[in-house]
């Protein structure tokens, strides 16, 4: 297939439409606007619906309505807007409605700035809204993945009847790269049998997230938990980059993972056996793979464009068997290859000095 040079955000929208997305409800926010604009341009042409909502609160509830009607629906926003959608996301998860929510992350908290960050990790992975629920979370690193993971997101959403979130940073959204659509065969998803579509056959159907009786609600929440347990077993995705013999394993996702590949090369030139574990799904987190690597690697370095969020999941996965170091930048600063290399080599030097000091102390 020929390749097309397009922005990550546009690649995501095209991938989503090929993957069966037929409705988009959104509200403008930088740096997610190309998604909303692409939806406004393309969806009406393919018989879909685009509507600019009066707020993110309304947008996510319009998605709720469309998903209830059995339509593959999505929205896109950035941190502050995703915060407003948290209520709706909890309801979607509670009502077991599939949908795709894209967060092109920017600097926070509060209004922050419009520069790229990865500081919405907790919000995406740990809940964000109220109650016992999870979103499946995908983290593309290239324009190609923006397209491919959008298709996957709708498949997963339907498979688990659950909201799926795609989190990318401003760079991954704004960057242009060649995208190969591989197959341009568009999906025409069947109407799920549980949907409420305004027909005699679906008249009996009910979409709700209210369970007044404690035992009923507990059963419902346990059912959700079982679904998440299955997803944890089956859906974790990651990329290993030169980890086969790595003593030092970086963990990073999105744009940071690409900087880290350069860092791995630079460190290997210095004789340090470095590698990279890139989570592609942030939930389910590739904990088993990290546990496996903990059997071989001496140290883990988590690098994030935040003050340290994913590092907690890396530590949980490593189970205290190896040191897990952290390096982070925020405010829109992308850590450069040079600064990460410098930071890591200084850490190694410091460890060497510490080891010498310990030996001296015992002598």
């Amino acid at each position: 297939m020929p390749r097309q040079l397009i922005k990550g955000n546009e690649a995501l929208m095209k991938g989503a439409i090929l993957g069966g997305c037929r409705a988009f409800y959104g509200y403008p926010i930088t740096p997610a606007n190309e998604l909303t604009e692409a939806a406004a341009y393309y969806l009406p042409q393919v018989g879909g619906t685009f509507l600019q909502a009066e707020s993110e609160v309304a947008a996510i509830n319009m998605v709720f309505g469309a998903a209830s009607a059995g339509i593959r629906a999505m929205t896109a926003s950035s941190g502050p807007g995703i915060s407003l959608m948290a209520e709706g996301i909890s309801y979607l998860a509670g009502a077991e409605l599939p949908c795709v929510i894209v967060n092109i992350m920017r600097g926070g908290p509060g209004l922050g700035n419009i520069a790229p960050e990865q500081s919405d990790y907790f919000q995406a992975v740990k809940g964000g809204g109220h109650g016992n629920y999870r979103c499946l979370v995908l983290a593309p690193a290239t324009a190609q993945e923006m397209c491919d993971l959008a298709r996957l997101a709708f498949e997963l959403a339907d498979r688990y009847r659950n909201p799926v979130m795609i989190v990318a940073d401003g760079y991954t959204g704004q960057m242009m790269e060649p995208v190969d659509f591989y197959s341009t065969a568009a999906v025409d998803p069947p109407v799920p049998e549980w949907a409420v579509t305004g027909t005699a056959e679906t008249r009996k159907n009910l979409i709700t997230s209210i369970y007044l009786q404690p035992d009923e609600l507990e059963a419902h929440v346990r059912k959700l938990a079982e679904k998440y347990r299955l997803a944890e077993q089956r859906e974790a995705r990651w990329e290993n980059y030169r980890t086969e013999d790595a003593d030092l394993v970086f963990v990073g996702y999105g744009i940071v993972s690409r900087v880290l590949k350069s860092v791995v090369e630079a460190l290997r030139e210095q004789g340090i056996r470095a590698g990279l574990l890139r989570p592609i799904t942030l939930y389910p987190f590739p904990a088993a793979e990290i546990r496996r690597l903990a059997g071989q690697a001496a140290v883990f370095f988590t690098v994030e464009m935040s003050m340290g969020q994913m590092v907690e999941d890396v530590r949980l996965a490593v189970e205290g068997r190896r040191p897990v170091e952290f390096y982070g930048r925020c405010g829109g600063n992308v850590p450069s290859v040079e600064e990460i290399v410098q930071h890591v080599t200084q850490w190694i030097d410091g460890r060497a000095e510490q080891a010498v000091a310990e030996v001296m102390h015992h002598a």
């Binding site: 095209k14 090929l18 509507l51 319009m62 209830s68 060649p178 341009t184 305004g198 690409r258």
Partner: protein, 490 residues
């Protein structure tokens, strides 16, 4: 009904078909509703159900249940049911109706749900003329949460959150939703009715039926506000509560049609049919044919990092994009990253371009092989980060003395002046592109030409840009004293 009743003795009044016979979804006491004696919801639901039956639309109806006492509409309505978040029924109904235009979508809300937390959603659904039917039950109090102030609570009323009486200066005035929404151009029909006596109830029935009929005809947004008793929270008996509706509520909230555009309203156009799936790639503008020019196999390893910088409006981003487009056609891996952050909103602009024979890891160009600086501030900012052996193309007659370096090749040329002589000063960025090609031999001119033909949509501009590209190449040829270096070819 027992089978023993003869056909000519069918009852003249029975429960509406679209209400369940028994409320099994409710669990305990499936023969009775969960509403208090004398509550207006029971009457309103009955009127709604009868209207659905009379119009013969049961199979098409989707009832959107709100939060509040009426949260459990799905206990009673044998129709499609969707239960939604507090205040968001009009938004969810919008998503439903736009997805299933043939469905009859009924959004049902109380006063807290519609007039307080959901005021934005109802205002905008009404303003869009969303083709739904909205039933707004106004009993001027929060019932389910135990009697707190509603936006519609009368002044002076004591509630659990206005224990000394609602005061205008502190709590604001009662909101007249029907009048507010009637001021918009979107709705086709808004009427306020009441449940104060049989006459009022019959009028309410006609209004609800009309609001539904409007949707059947595809006419747009209709809302019926129902003034409704809440005996339990009002601390009145049902008879007293009904009298209160009749004698007090209707003075605060006058009954009647607030807006009716049904006579002149046209049915909303049906959405066009979806195109066949095979059409999608074309509609999504996905290329289906390979670009004809491909890279020659003899080329060595390439890893070129390019920074393009200048003022916003100089065509910095397009210049970078053309390099990336041509690089892709040439069979290379490429990335293009625009300046990102506050700079988007001020005078400067830059982009990072990488061309490589290998997969591109970091798309960020902090150290560059090539710098194209279209103004002096950009030259000052990015010159120090040009790698030794690199190439600098500067839009100026000469490089400022304090920026001179011996370890890079610098071409100072007034690109925009050269373009101006061609009658299109704006094409200075393309002159710079031509200069880049000649100075570095990074990409063949015909590949760049092909990329330009694809990206530049106007024939007039394509012709100008083609001339500009040639001028840029000639300008370098005329000044070159030594063979071109290939800084990116390892």
């Amino acid at each position: 009904m027992p089978d023993t009743i003869p056909a000519n003795m069918k009852p003249v009044h029975e429960k509406a078909e679209c209400l369940y016979e028994s409320y099994f979804r409710k669990g305990e006491n499936p023969h009775q509703t969960h509403y208090c004696p004398g509550c207006g919801h029971g009457i309103t639901l009955k009127l709604l159900a009868e209207a659905i039956d009379e119009l013969g639309i049961r199979d098409r109806v989707i009832v959107v249940s709100p939060v509040g006492c009426s949260v459990f509409l799905y206990y009673y309505f044998d129709t499609g049911n969707v239960q939604v978040a507090h205040g968001r029924a009009p938004a969810a109904a919008t998503g439903l109706k736009r997805s299933r235009p043939d469905a009859i979508v009924i959004s049902y809300q109380g006063d807290g749900d519609l007039a307080a937390i959901g005021s934005a959603e109802i205002l905008h659904a009404a303003n869009r003329g969303e083709a739904i039917t909205s039933i707004f039950v106004n009993n001027a109090i929060y019932g389910m949460t135990g009697g707190q102030m509603a936006p519609t609570t009368p002044l002076g009323n004591k509630t659990t959150t206005t224990p000394f009486g609602r005061a205008a200066h502190k709590d604001g005035y009662p909101i007249h939703i029907s009048e507010v929404l009637s001021a918009l151009d979107g709705p086709v029909y808004i009427e306020r009715v009441a449940l104060g006596n049989v006459k009022q109830i019959l009028a309410a029935k006609r209004a609800i039926r009309k609001a539904l009929e409007n949707q059947v005809k595809g006419l747009g947004f209709s809302l019926v506000e129902v003034l409704s008793p809440c005996p339990t929270i009002w601390k009145m008996d049902p008879v007293e509560a009904q009298r209160h509706v009749r004698e007090f509520m209707t003075t605060l909230y006058p009954l009647g049609v607030k807006c009716d555009r049904t006579a002149q309203a046209q049915p909303l156009p049906a959405p066009p049919p979806a195109p066949p799936l095979e059409e999608f790639p074309r509609l999504l503008r996905i290329p289906t044919e390979e670009a004809p020019v491909q890279r020659s196999g003899a080329m060595g390893e390439v890893d070129c990092r390019i920074k393009v910088a200048g003022f916003g409006g100089q065509g910095v981003l397009l210049l970078g994009q053309l390099i990336a487009e041509a690089g892709m056609d040439y069979g290379l891996e490429v990335s293009w990253l625009p300046s990102y952050g506050p700079e988007m909103r001020s005078g400067t602009s830059n982009c990072h371009v990488r061309l490589s024979t290998r997969a591109i890891d970091s798309p960020l160009v902090s150290k560059s092989h090539v710098l194209i600086a279209l103004n002096e501030p950009s030259l000052r900012k990015f010159m120090p980060a040009v790698l030794p052996g690199g190439t600098v193309l500067y839009n100026g007659a000469e490089i400022p003395e304090d920026l001179r370096r011996n370890d890079v090749t610098v071409y100072a040329l007034p690109f925009f002046e050269i373009a101006d002589k061609e009658g299109a000063a704006k094409a200075g960025n393309i002159v710079a592109l031509g200069a880049l090609l000649e100075a570095t031999r990074l990409l063949p001119a015909e590949v760049v030409d092909q990329a330009m033909a694809r990206v530049i949509k106007s024939d007039k501009w394509l012709e100008i840009d083609r001339r500009a590209l040639s001028r840029g190449m000639e300008a370098i040829r005329s000044m070159k004293t030594q063979p071109a270096k290939e800084p990116c070819h390892a």
